[in-house]
């Protein structure tokens, strides 16, 4: 590390507080994550839609694919700029310690990340700028879309290594161990599935808003918007089905390898935010199933199965949203010496407990949504739905699902980032170390700090500061 030590003395402290810096980074990163998630999910939907349009000669899919690639091109320009701004200005300016550590530990994955970013541009630009021309060689265009998705997937895999390393770091000198740290694979699946659902939700949200506008009532537009809303919603709730299982596994790995973070999320100060998150999850399922039921009804079919599914999902939603106590955290319950059920004058609500009640609700969401989706698609596959029949209620449902998915995405980021507090990298680097930086000496003792219990060396120890 001598080279690094020699280079750093030129840095000066940024004159803003830790809170402001953290808020700035959080705001920018949350926005960037939303864009990146949309891109990643959107690419696979684009590839699937264009392929289906090609093979089934469907004008509707063709029109949708063209609109989607235009949107993806435009949002990539914004999202990509945010990413570059985040790295160049915020990380280097405000969180330099963190950035140096991440560069040191995950140098090659980050190089590959940058290469994949360039690859994304190479694949996306021709699709955005020469869509119709590429349509003459349809196989090539679809191939490019698949390549684009693989590129985005690779980027997410690599950046997940950073994100999961921050929560459950492993030996800093063993790259495979860092790359395969305990939360890497659950986070990877969680995000991959979530991003597709998110992209679907954005599509549904767009369709829902446009259905409510005056232009959405035109007979040449309404059938398409109706179909587009249905198409986006299928992705949104279809891929959310996997989240209870994957999220459960993710939480379990956090419990095993970063207990303090897990405790904070499930029973501590962040548990209320987490409760709101499962409330949003329930909203996505319930409103989504409600849409399916009413959409079938709008075309003149009564579906008792979908009505029952909506009711069951609503019951599960209420169950999962029940707090386990009438207090901010579990500590508050004990502090008040009130860890007895509410009917005995305490603060505990037994049916708000994770096991078995919330677990039951999660299982119910999965099962009920599979049944509902299957039932609904049965109507679609038999050609019973007339596109254009969707009413105001369905449009509002689409918007509600889109808003709920957007909120859950932002909230998840907030919970994950705050659960590590006061660490930026668990047991390894504190958040406030970013703002009280002083350059290490040329001999570089600050870069050779003591090893933590997890075998990760501390890069810049606080004890060197006055």
């Amino acid at each position: 590390m001598p080279l690094l030590a020699a280079a750093t003395p030129q840095l000066t402290q940024v004159p803003i507080s830790t809170g402001v810096a953290t808020a700035l980074v959080a705001l920018l990163m949350l926005t960037h994550v939303q864009f990146a998630a949309w891109q990643q999910g959107g690419y696979i939907i684009l590839a699937v839609s264009d392929f289906v349009g090609w093979k089934r000669k469907s004008e509707r899919y063709d029109r949708f694919s063209k609109g989607l690639v235009t949107a993806l091109g435009a949002t990539f320009a914004v999202g990509g700029s945010l990413a570059i701004f985040a790295v160049m200005i915020l990380f280097l300016g405000l969180w330099a310690h963190f950035w140096i550590d991440v560069q040191r530990v995950l140098f090659w994955p980050l190089v590959a990340e940058a290469a994949a970013f360039v690859g994304e541009i190479i694949c996306l630009y021709p699709l955005y700028a020469r869509w119709d021309r590429l349509g003459r060689v349809r196989g090539l265009r679809v191939g490019l879309e698949v390549l684009l998705f693989i590129n985005a997937e690779l980027q997410m895999l690599l950046i997940n290594m950073v994100a999961s390393y921050m929560l459950t770091p492993r030996n800093a000198f063993n790259l495979p161990a860092i790359m395969m740290n305990p939360t890497e694979i659950p986070l990877e699946i969680h995000r991959m599935v979530g991003n597709i659902a998110w992209a679907g939700a954005i599509i549904a949200l767009t369709a829902g808003i446009r259905l409510l506008l005056r232009s959405g009532h035109r007979p040449d537009v309404r059938p398409y918007l109706d179909w587009m809303g249905h198409y986006g919603l299928i992705y949104a709730i279809g891929f959310t089905i996997a989240q209870p299982l994957v999220g459960w596994e993710y939480a379990k790995e956090i419990q095993l390898h970063a207990y303090a973070s897990w405790y904070d999320m499930m029973l501590g100060g962040l548990s209320v935010a987490f409760l709101f998150q499962v409330f949003l999850l329930g909203a996505i399922f319930t409103v989504g199933i409600f849409y399916l039921w009413r959409r079938v009804r709008a075309s003149g079919f009564r579906s008792p199965a979908l009505a029952v599914c909506t009711l069951l999902s609503f019951g599960a939603w209420m169950l999962i949203s029940t707090p386990s106590s009438l207090a901010w955290s579990y500590e508050s319950v004990f502090a008040a010496n009130a860890n007895v059920p509410i009917w005995q004058g305490g603060l505990l609500i037994p049916w708000g407990a994770m096991i078995p009640w919330k677990l039951t609700a999660l299982v119910a969401f999965t099962g009920v949504t599979i049944v509902a989706l299957t039932t609904y698609l049965k109507y679609v596959s038999r050609g019973k739905l007339r596109w254009g029949d969707a009413g105001r209620g369905q449009a509002i449902s689409l918007i509600a699902v889109g808003v709920a998915v957007s909120l859950i995405m932002a909230l998840m980021g907030f919970i994950r980032e705050n659960s590590r507090g006061p660490f930026l990298i668990t047991n390894h680097m504190l958040i406030n170390q970013q703002q009280n930086y002083s350059p290490p000496s040329s001999t570089g003792p600050a870069l050779q700090g003591p090893a933590s219990n997890s075998g990760v060396s501390v890069i810049l120890p606080v004890e060197t500061h006055p």
Binding site: N181, P182, E253, L373, L377, S381
Partner: protein, 404 residues
Amino acid sequence: MAQGLERSPIAAKLTRPVSGLMATTYRWVDERLGVTDLMHQLLYEAVPRRGAWAYSLGSATLIVIILQIVTGMFLLWTYVPSTTEAWESLNFIEHHDEFAAIVRGMHLWGAYILFIVIGLHMVRTFVSGSYKKPRELNWIIGVVLFLLVLGLGITGSMLPWDQAAYWTATVVTHVISYFPLFGTQIEEILRGGPQMGPATLTRFFAIHIWLLPALLVPMIGLHLILLRRHGEHGSWVNYEGVEEETEVERSRRMAAAEAPYPALPSDPGYAVPVDLDEFFPSQVFKDAVVSFALVLIIFVMAIVVGAPLERAANPAALNYVPTPEWFFLPLDQLLVQFPQAWMIPVGVFVVPGIGTTLLMLVPFLDRTPGREPWRRPEVMVPGLFTVLFLVFEAMLAVGRLFNL
């Protein structure tokens, strides 16, 4: 012969009459064994034309199973099924018998490839709706074959009697003890007593080389007989346009079809593929290419990677953490998700049991009229989620085991 289905020149050349001593010998044998009739029955039949490469997965499965039987026989020449000599015999193979080491590697990699191929074969059959009337029984037999292969996989992994084998056997037999009511008895039967010991290895050896193959081979025969009886369904792409056909057109097409079509007089729209090809040489060629490629991969992997052999089994090594074979990763992860003792039967027996039962009953649960996957959401949606579930479980298990 079906309309438009001409014998290819290659087929004519390969089956042309020969002359001289060879002809005399052939006629002598043919008169007694009916070789020509047999060859015609085996080779001359119509198969669906489109998607034929995907149909080669079935024959590839058969070829890999035959390879497993052959390599298994070779291994029996050296392997000694006893707790004191099993590991020694395999250690001898690994260090002093290069040919046997390659054969052992082929046996292991053949098993791995077999799981992939049989899985793809099932997915192909599922997606194309090939299990529908009148092929329901063939689907059920296929599922049973898959379960038998899984059984062969788990019992085979116990035979080296190294650390991995010993502790895998310990975990597997112990997990079975959670079976309601008779769990302990089944565990004792499999172990040959309350504890792991010499009888355990002998029993798993017997199951691996006698019991399961004795069930497997006749089931394969039955699978093939039923395939010939009903003809290969192929894929929905071979039936495109049948819904627009008139009764007359359909009857004419069915009357002109080559055996084994038309199948039983059920579901006439899907009784005969619109476009037919010859099994020999067209399909045989594709089958041969795919099978050869797989055998080549198995051979290369056997040489380059080989088959691992850990240290000899040591029951005293209590810190050893056994990891399951990759094809059991989803089940292993499922077990972790039911950590409390009273919940283990749910993860080990109830969930997989329900899944297997539903898989077997697919032909009876799928009452959809069409064969195209997008017209069968009733089975495609749960099927897709099942596959995703298994993939995610396997991935999660990899991450967990890596960080043990």
